[in-house]
Amino acid sequence: MPDKKIRVLIAKPGLDGHDRGAKVIARALRDAGMEVIYTGLRQTPQMIASAALQEDVDVIGLSILSGAHNTLCARLMDLLRAQKMDDVTVLIGGIIPEQDIAELKKIGIAEVFLPGTTTQAIVDFIRQRVAQASAASQPHRSAE
């Protein structure tokens, strides 16, 4: 039975319109065999949470270069929790000062990818995470 394709939502939260990174990642993930939905620009955390739910994604990739990451991520993680989407992996890429990374991880961001990250590193991370999540949620099988 073929593996279910990993579903990824690539989102641009907030007012920032710099979408080069988001688009490159979207294409790279598609090339790596994932199902990618790109939200387009200027999404509120509410819009992203709704899209993630509707599209039943495994991963949300946020692209933020505006410095608004703390506010936007906190908002989004609250909404995802309210929607009981704790099993969704949330990643962020962009311009994130080193000192903010620990706090972002504390609120549930799985990884922060800084400028210079290769697309392969992101592909590998996602595959690994989704595999882990899938293994963790497998029902215990008795011998057949």
Partner: protein
């Protein structure tokens, strides 16, 4: 004029150029060169072959192992090169270039509140920068007040928060607009922001006929690359034309537009695409102004341009030279401009932000220096150099100072300012200039064939070209075909550097200020002005006088941009990945 009519006018315009670039002859090696290939090159290659399979520019344009007279067969110095300050302006737009006057050292700055930025402005001026350049925050860029729900988390983070004339007054406190030139990087709300600037100038007693500066105000590149659009193309172009028309009449020394390639390049385009899309945007603006009934020589001298200064030294120099040569041909042949000041392309350059690394940030000082040098050797009129912490945050004061010093070192210590167009006549640079010009003309012809730039944008053409180029570049980097020092080679473990941190107290201060403003102004007057603006926007009159009165009543930027959303509508892009 309806969109349909406008498109017909565009399609009826003559094809790109009456006289295509004359020289594109195939390479013709001389007997001496052929001899050299046998006696010198072949044994050298046999001994140790090329380091790489391909040698290409940053834009992946192939570069030959050397350039000789063989590459310039048919090239004429009179036709292709000319002399400085003379057609075709390849060598620069002034006869003396930097011997007469250095480029303006104009560092882009802005963060937090107007007071914070005012302090940074006065610091940079005290350190020898010769012009101001304002960076606005995202809410301001998108026409939202600091206290708008959509502004949450964003106030003052990417630039200065300006929500009203009161903020603009604070921004230029102790800065005489009569004596200092200011560039403002603002696009969708350029017209109301400019109205605020003009109001500050009036308050200070500065003569509008003498004040100088630049408004970026280039909406087409927003749809293509930077994506800071509010309204659809039609109404947005009307606003741009309004500002150009108003400027031509009232502020003859002010550049009402900075037709930009910087952002197109940052989005991942090649150098040729950057040049082509920028100049084609320029063509579109000129056509709009002509349709308005303006005479070409009345406004064309004040069109200004803005290019990227990226890593590949010679590719960039060739690009600036090709830009000047191409634009004079557009002005003269396509539009029949008669004033030499309409022919001469003036530009500001900024070193490439996208090339700077988060890893080993001090390396960025070297990158910025090389890029700045290219801009100077390419004849720029104005220059911003990025700070070493570009990939981490807005610049600290010390990082911003090093960036400024980089320009000063080039100006006073490197010797490149002693002569105009130092690389003129170089086999390599002249060949590359010609190839860049040809490549740009091809793209311009393609866009003409699509029905113009607005049509091309609706087709997704420039956006797709840019996305493809960006992706190709990333693939090359990921494969190690393009080396980025510190990122995919020469990688080390490192500790983070100190960076500028902007906290949310700015948002709270702005919210208080706005509350105070709304309670102290005449809200009746504001309502009257906004109403008048809305009605004028639904018609065809120039909106600048309305905007001027509206900002003076202390209507906020958000209120103004919102009032315009009704008659103009909003733009939704179809995302191309």
């Amino acid at each position: 004029m309806t969109d349909e009519k406008a498109r017909k006018v565009s399609a009826a315009a003559p094809p790109v150029h009456a006289s295509p670039p004359p020289f594109a002859s195939p390479r013709k090696p001389s007997p001496a060169e052929i001899g050299w290939e046998e006696s010198t090159l072949k044994p050298a290659l046999a001994n140790s072959p090329d380091r790489l399979a391909d040698f290409t520019t940053v834009s992946s344009y192939p570069v030959r192992r050397m350039y000789t007279d063989a590459d310039l067969v048919g090239w004429s110095p009179e036709r292709e090169l000319g002399l400085p300050g003379q057609l075709p302006y390849t060598r620069g737009i002034h006869p003396l270039m930097y011997r007469e006057r250095l480029w303006t050292m104009r560092q882009f700055a802005g963060f937090g509140s107007a007071d914070d930025t005012n302090r940074r402005f006065r610091y940079l001026l005290s350190q020898g920068q010769t012009g101001l350049s304002v960076a606005f925050d995202l809410p301001t860029l998108m026409g939202y007040d600091s206290d708008d729900p959509l502004s949450e988390g964003e106030v003052g983070k990417c630039g200065v928060a300006i929500s009203s004339l009161a903020d603009m007054e604070a921004l230029f406190d102790q800065i005489p607009l009569a004596d200092v030139t200011t560039s403002m990087t603002i696009n969708s709300p350029a017209a109301p922001i400019w109205a605020m600037y003009l109001a500050v100038a009036e308050k200070q007693g500065a003569d509008w006929r003498k004040i100088s500066g630049t408004l970026q105000n280039d909406i087409l590149k927003e749809y293509i690359a930077q994506k800071e659009y509010i309204y659809p193309p039609g109404p947005s172009l009307r606003l741009v034309t309004d500002t150009i028309e108003f400027g031509a009449k009232y502020t003859p020394k002010f550049n009402p537009i900075s037709i930009s390639g910087y952002h197109i390049r940052e989005a991942g385009s090649t150098a040729i695409q950057e040049l082509a899309f920028t100049l084609r945007d320029g063509i579109e603006y000129v056509e709009n102004c002509l349709r308005r009934g303006l005479a070409i020589d009345d406004f064309a001298p004040r069109l200004s341009f803005f290019f990227n200064a990226h890593n590949d030294f010679f590719e960039e120099i060739a690009k600036y030279r090709a830009a000047r040569r191409l634009w004079q041909s557009v002005m003269r042949e396509r539009f029949g401009a008669k004033n030499p000041r309409s022919w001469a392309l003036r530009f500001h350059a900024q070193t490439a932000g996208c090339s700077l690394t988060a890893q080993q940030p001090y390396n960025n000082v070297a990158r910025t220096a090389i890029q700045a040098l290219a801009a100077v050797m390419g004849g720029t009129q104005s220059l911003h150099t990025n700070s070493l912490d570009e990939a981490w945050a807005l610049p600290t004061e010390s990082a911003a100072t090093i960036a400024l010093r980089t320009q000063q070192i080039i100006a006073y210590e490197s010797g490149v300012t002693n002569t105009a167009d130092p690389l003129g006549g170089s086999y390599f640079v002249e060949t590359l200039t010609g190839e860049t010009e040809r490549g740009a003309r091809d793209y311009i012809a393609k866009i003409d064939a699509l029905g113009g730039m607005v049509a091309a944008i609706e087709h997704g053409f420039p956006q797709r070209e840019i996305a493809d180029a960006a992706y190709r570049f990333q693939v090359a980097v990921d494969r190690g075909e393009k080396i980025i020092v510190g990122v995919n080679d020469y990688v080390v473990d490192e500790k983070p550097i100190e960076t500028l941190h902007i906290n949310d107290s700015v948002a709270r201060t702005q919210t208080d200020r706005l509350r105070k403003l709304r309670s102290e102004r005449s809200n009746d007057e504001v309502a009257r002005r906004l109403d008048s603006l809305r009605r004028a926007a639904a018609g065809e009159e120039n909106l600048m006088p309305h905007l001027f009165e509206t900002v003076k009543a202390y209507a906020t930027l958000g209120e103004i941009c919102d009032a315009l959303r009704q008659p103009f509508g909003v733009y939704q892009e179809v995302a191309i990945t």
